[in-house]
Chain length 257, copies 2
């Protein structure tokens, strides 16, 4: 018999949907969480969009979600900086979701003399932005990256992910960044802080062993692997450290809510 958890952290792509496609059972699963008033946050390595935009996307799949239930790596990054140095000067490469999160946290976006450099995925990246990131890191700014994903699956194929863009600054300066997003524990710690529950009462749910499940393990949480996305049951079986649970679809978990 499975433990009953008081709160959930839930991955998006591969768990709630697959690109533009529904994932069976995701809607029923989240509706049951709501009915039972079980706190949950959707935790994503996507730094580009604002929480309201992510919630809107979930709603199109008939998955109930409020902006307050979205926890992006941009929010985790902003929260991490704010805890270390409120009002810090930050040079950020990234899109709307990152800039919004940094400003919401009362941080100052700046181009030089920065306390932090944050690299997030930026489809408008250019040489000058990479230069500013490098110069600030060389001048002593703390180097953060929203996430280390090396590739993004799209209809065109695997496009460069933020981890690959981040490497420009790493290789050029010789300084390693602190990554915030999954599989790092930082985003998990921040999300648990936001939900206000202890780690032993929470379950991390996701499809990708190397991001979602490792993130949960790194944060010493119990983990639920769902076989609707990246990591298949067969692939999962080859890892030495196993998630707490693995299921074929979220329907199987509804009785345990």
């Amino acid at each position: 018999m499975n433990k009953t958890y008081k709160g959930y952290l839930i991955d998006l792509d591969g768990t709630m949907y697959r690109g533009t496609e529904r994932v069976e059972a995701a809607s029923d699963f989240v509706k049951t969480l709501r009915e039972k008033e079980i706190p949950h946050l959707f935790v994503t390595n996507n730094s580009s969009r604002r929480p309201s935009q992510v919630a809107d996307k979930l709603n199109t799949f008939d998955i109930p979600a409020q902006p307050e239930q979205i926890y992006t790596t941009s929010m985790a990054t902003a929260s991490y900086i704010k805890a270390q140095k409120p009002g810090a000067r930050v040079y950020a490469m990234g899109e709307e979701g990152l800039m919004h999160a940094l400003e919401e946290a009362g941080l100052t976006l700046a181009e030089e003399n920065c306390d932090y450099v944050v690299v997030g995925l930026d489809h408008e990246l250019n040489y000058e932005k990479l230069t500013k990131a490098c110069l600030n890191v060389r001048a002593g700014a703390t180097f953060l990256s929203t996430n280390g994903d090396v590739a993004i699956p799209t209809e065109r194929g695997m496009l460069p992910g933020n981890g690959s863009i981040t490497s420009v600054v790493t290789v050029s300066t010789g300084v390693e960044p602190t990554f915030i997003g999954k599989p790092e524990s930082i985003i998990m710690e921040q999300a648990m802080g936001a939900i206000g529950l202890n780690r032993e009462d929470m379950l991390m749910v996701g499809d990708n062993y190397n991001t979602d499940i490792l993130a949960g393990m790194n944060a010493e949480m119990d983990t639920l692997h769902v076989q609707t996305g990246v990591t298949t049951k067969e692939q999962l079986s080859q890892y030495s450290q196993q998630p707490t649970y693995t299921i074929s679809t979220l329907h199987q978990w509804i009785p345990y809510l």
Copy 2:
């Protein structure tokens, strides 16, 4: 007594000039090479400029140079590809000097279904260019990089070099490139081929241990370190593998020409 060499490969920045500054003795050294009709090529990791532009810059320092005496890593890259697959389809990120060299070698610049991907320094880089490089490498194109320099010294500080830009593709695809420029031996082999002399009759001259001197060593050439640029005499003494010779300025070498 030093050996008499029949031909010279000569580095540019730090050896012939320093940015926009003269290097003492460089002009006299090259003029003596010309008077004695000793074949020499200027070998550079700068992929951006055409040979004629590089020769023009040398001329402004009163250093005689014809475009035919300039050997850029772009030319080495083009020559390397042509030797493997004449007329190959190449997706290239880079500037005028790279595109010109590839076209001069009869290669076809293309965006997809490419045989080769070449990453060279590109001040106009963007996400779409990096995407095309990644997609072609993932589709099986051979991955080359003009050079692995991680940073470029400028008045603003150290800017991202081509090695750091190249890492986007390396990290995203998991495929390691073949670097062409110094300190790799490939550019040395191509330059020796262009000058038509045997390696035991040639001397590689440069200021930077980690590029010029290692390139010479990797190509099993004798090397002359000149203390007018990056690597000081003190720094040099700490490497276990030493150049054949080290001198404070090129004036000291003129009697041996």
